[in-house]
Symmetry: C2
Subunit: 357 residues, 2 copies
């Protein structure tokens, strides 16, 4: 019997509903497999701003550092959209990534046959898609300094900085190779080496790292081409690895393949401390509080936590299999409900998955 302390940060909007669902599923897993999961709760994002005047209170961060893993719902909402930059919910997200050294964001994109109607792509294009985007999460344009307005000979100008240390590039690329070694053994390194100096360094490092993984194939792809290939022929990919901003764009783009953001989990691995797991969707203010949100992305994120942070593979499999069965049985939340006759609420979906654990 294992004992695990999990920090739960529901955040805003549907973040609250989907984390509630994931916690229920984890409790069911605990019962079936005889583990003790202890859940501790903290504020982040808009609610943290309202209560504590900051999007990431120190207590929350402290609590996360002292846990075995973190589950995060989603942050943000129209209420805080006009706040000054330092009082916006996303700042909490960026800060927790940086403070916990969550350098590697893993976004698996797996196509479920049963959702073929929901994808804007033709069945033959998306069938059997099973790729993993590995995005650098604590560097690049997101954190480089200077990031400021300037006045130059009376004219206003602005600058942001794409900055990386060699080590930061090396560790994320190495992570991608390690993961590819356990999958289809192919890494596509995405950059813009025909324009950016940072990309030329990235490419060199990728070549170096590749030498340590003789059984993994490395290919380079320019980011504009990658944006095309992800839609034209997504089956060609196994693991894609790229810097922070390119990864942000490409992973959201790739989410379209599955038909709904509501299906996609992610893991953010730390260099040292606990890792964080969150759905890639946002707080969806338009449907918040209506018991309509798709809890699957959050539930699959908790399966990733079991596998990657706790090494509980059988338990993770049980969750993933239950999700697959529920989808195959035709249950759908509204976001993927096209042509479906079994449209269910968030809580009903959680119930159906729980029954199959």
């Amino acid at each position: 019997m294992g004992k695990y302390r999990i920090a739960v940060l529901p955040g805003d909007g549907i973040g609250k509903e989907v984390t509630k669902g994931a916690v229920e599923i984890l409790k069911a897993v605990g019962t079936r497999f005889d583990h003790r999961f202890e859940f501790v709760y903290g504020f982040i994002g808009g609610e943290a701003i309202d209560r504590e005047g900051t999007p990431l209170p120190d207590e929350t961060l402290q609590m996360c550092h002292e846990s075995d893993a973190v589950l995060l719902g989603a942050v943000g909402g129209p209420k805080w959209d006009h706040n000054p930059p330092h009082l916006r919910p996303e700042r909490g997200l960026l800060k927790i990534r940086k403070e916990m050294n969550l350098f590697a964001n893993l976004r698996p994109v797996k196509f479920y046959d049963s959702l073929v109607d929901s994808s804007p792509l033709k069945a033959e294009v998306v069938k059997d898609v099973d790729l993993l985007i590995v995005r650098e999460l604590t560097g690049g344009l997101y954190f480089g300094k200077p990031s400021e307005r300037r006045v130059e000979s009376g004219e206003e100008a602005v600058v942001d900085t794409l900055y990386y240390k060699r080590e930061e590039m090396k560790r994320i690329i190495t992570t991608a190779f390690e993961l590819a070694g356990k999958r289809k053994k192919k890494v596509t390194s995405v950059d813009k080496a025909n324009v950016l100096e940072s990309s030329r360094m990235w490419r060199e490092i990728a070549e170096e790292v590749a030498k340590d993984f003789p059984d993994v194939t490395l290919e380079h792809m320019l980011v504009d081409n990658a944006a095309m290939q992800l839609i034209r022929n997504p089956k060609q990919f196994d693991v894609l690895v790229t810097e922070n901003m390119f990864g942000d764009i490409l992973s959201d783009e790739a989410s379209v393949l599955t038909g709904s953001l509501g299906m996609l989990p992610s893991a953010s691995l730390s260099t040292s401390g606990p890792s964080l797991y969150e759905p890639i969707h946002g707080s969806a203010p338009d449907i918040a509080g209506q018991n309509k949100a798709n809890p699957i992305a959050m539930i699959l994120s908790s399966a990733m936590m079991l596998r990657l942070s706790f090494g509980l593979h059988e338990e993770a499999d049980a969750i993933e299999k239950a999700v697959q069965q529920v989808l195959a049985a035709g249950y759908r939340t509204a976001d993927v409900a096209k042509n479906s006759k079994r449209v269910v609420s968030t809580t009903q979906m959680v119930e159906e998955i729980k029954e199959r654990i």
Copy 2:
């Protein structure tokens, strides 16, 4: 009868084949509508490196400055892939953009019903797509300084710089509004304002410019969301406007909607001098010299030239209509040949279009 001097830069690979086709079509237009088009030729890209030791010789640039418009094929090829950065074909492209002040890259994405089989997207998603991406082309990460390696306390690091002047943002956003005013009157301004200071300034300027165009609607969209929406629901868009790197990624992505890069033209407008017209595809070394390339993107680029640089609307219409007829009649080059019975070569395709002028 009009008289126009056109600088033709075929470049490398299929660039040569497709510019040849476009020149033939322009000659046919000249005959039918009684215009005199004078063509002058110059080197750019790999061939210029081989002949003159630089990807953009001064004579080429001079010739372009002295013309009424420039037609560019494509540059690049494996032969030059391992050259040092300053001796790479793309440098010629970046330099001509900067030297001629080609600040506004217009990439229309229009879906042809007859190509529905070639698109990876479902027919209902792409039918009636008619959008225009307006990409800033002479600023941002492409040209910002510093762009260099550094050694900081013994560790190697690298920096690229996203830099814009207020005026540079204002003129591209204004261009987008002007164009939207002649179309469906909607501008989607794409940025990453939740992270980048440059995007926050971009958003402010977009709000300001919008005030001068009361009949055009402005919406803001984050770049990651835009990458999704372009595939999920491309019909929602009229004109998208964005900075250089985001525009590079999104416009290549959007090209997938039509099924082939070989269909998409572009115009690069100058602040003052002549404008430049080029297909958005590259030099396609794998099929170069085989008379297989799709000449339509280049031919439609020359139609854009007639319309935007010379104000010859009827003539541009004639080209566009001829292309539509040829496609409707079932003629296809290999890139879009899926399920087609009338697969033709580059020269045959040019012939078919010419006959219909």
